[in-house]
């Protein structure tokens, strides 16, 4: 069974639909997500997004052939909770993954559940050997999330940008397939 069939703890993954524009618009414009929305190149990560922007984002996600971005939804209400992305455009040997959860839905285990789907897809359905994740040094919840999910910090590139009047670093994490397998065995990760 493919990992996309995740239905656990009231969460399911599905493809984005044009009708998701309003819900996506709402959570992408949550001020708490500014700078960590993981948008396609060319879309502003630090400014309010218009409905037109969001339509463009959905269109880009749907056209990409070497990545997927899926919607995480609440199975009972159908509400959009966030999105998860797996990207192997550079090299299927070393793809990357990211997760964005609407701020009101955070700290419920949704991020870890959908990340597990991305990792299962990459490690079980592709030749991926190692998966990376990238985040800003000011994004402490994301750093804690990566550590909690078995990733190791690979280092920090200074001057990733400016935030709150100071430079921040770009932080890289990685997870080897062997580590993922061991963790899966230990934690019974889906």
């Amino acid at each position: 069974m493919l990992p996309f069939s995740l239905k656990r703890d009231g969460i399911a993954l599905r493809a984005f639909e044009p009708t998701d524009v309003h819900a996506l618009f709402a959570y992408l414009n949550d001020p708490d997500l500014e700078g960590r929305r993981y948008l396609p190149d060319g879309f502003p990560d630090l400014a309010p997004l218009s409905a037109r922007h969001v339509e463009g984002i959905l269109e880009r996600w749907q056209k990409e052939s070497e990545s997927w971005t899926l919607a995480a939804v609440d199975t009972s209400s159908g509400a959009l909770l966030g999105h998860v992305r797996a990207d192997w455009e550079w090299d299927l040997h070393c793809p990357s993954a990211c997760v964005v959860i609407a701020p009101p839905q955070q700290r419920r285990g949704i991020g870890s559940a959908v990340l597990a789907v991305a990792l299962a897809f990459l490690f079980e359905e592709t030749p991926a050997h190692v998966v990376s994740g990238w985040m800003s040094s000011w994004n402490e919840p994301a750093i804690a999330f990566a550590q909690r999910n078995g990733f190791s910090e690979a280092g920090r590139r200074p001057r990733g940008g400016v935030h709150a009047g100071a430079f921040y670093s770009e932080v890289a994490f990685d997870l080897l397939r062997a580590e993922w397998l061991m963790r899966k065995e230990t934690h019974h990760v889906a």
């Binding site: 590139r157 001057r159 940008g161």
Partner: protein, 189 residues
């Protein structure tokens, strides 16, 4: 005007450089790509790419040919890509094996760095390489780059797994290494 170093000048790309570019791309060592490309590049392919270049005032990327001053020969090229205005860029360098050990690569790297920090006002310059290329790591280190990220076993090349290595050079560290130069940009911190 070209960018002038001690041993080399960096100039714009010309049609006659395209044979060299194809040769460099077809050598698995000098192709400078972390995933091997097949050695099937032709001069015609490079000429077509060259002729497709458009006039632009954009400066987010550039490729400059390294010309050794004494011989007048093209030795390879340096490039920068992904320039985030007034912030950062990633550089690359490819030098033909005949010019290894001549100092041309280091001088070309230094000449490009001077342009990036003095003219483009960048705050940081970085480069990607991998642990299977100790010469590349050493060359970067000689200009003051330090390893900042090491992604484990992310590169498969020469029949082995290597770490992807990102090296970084901060603006203030660059100027500290060049006391003859003065940094007139205000600091942000």
């Amino acid at each position: 005007m070209s960018l002038e170093g001690k041993l080399v000048v960096l100039r714009e790309e010309r049609r006659e450089d395209q044979r060299l570019f194809a040769d460099l791309r077809n050598d698995l060592v000098t192709q400078a790509w972390a995933k091997t490309l097949p050695p099937d590049y032709t001069e015609e392919m490079h000429v077509k790419r060259f002729e497709g270049l458009e006039f632009t005032y954009e400066r987010t990327s550039s490729r400059l040919v390294i010309v050794e001053k004494t011989s007048g020969q093209a030795a390879g090229f340096v490039s920068y890509t992904g320039e985030q205005h007034r912030m950062s860029a990633s550089i690359g360098i490819v030098v033909a094996k005949d010019f290894w050990g001549t100092g041309a690569a280091l001088d070309a790297q230094e000449t490009l760095l001077r342009f990036l920090f003095e003219e483009l006002g960048l705050r940081e310059v970085h480069l990607w390489t991998h642990s299977g290329l100790p010469k590349a790591i050493d060359l970067a280190g000689r200009s003051g780059f330090a390893v900042c990220i090491r992604l484990r076993e992310s590169v498969y090349k020469f029949g082995g797994l290597f770490d992807a290595v990102i090296m970084s050079l901060l603006r203030e560290d660059y100027f500290a290494r060049h006391p003859d130069m003065t940094d007139r940009l205000p600091r942000i911190d």
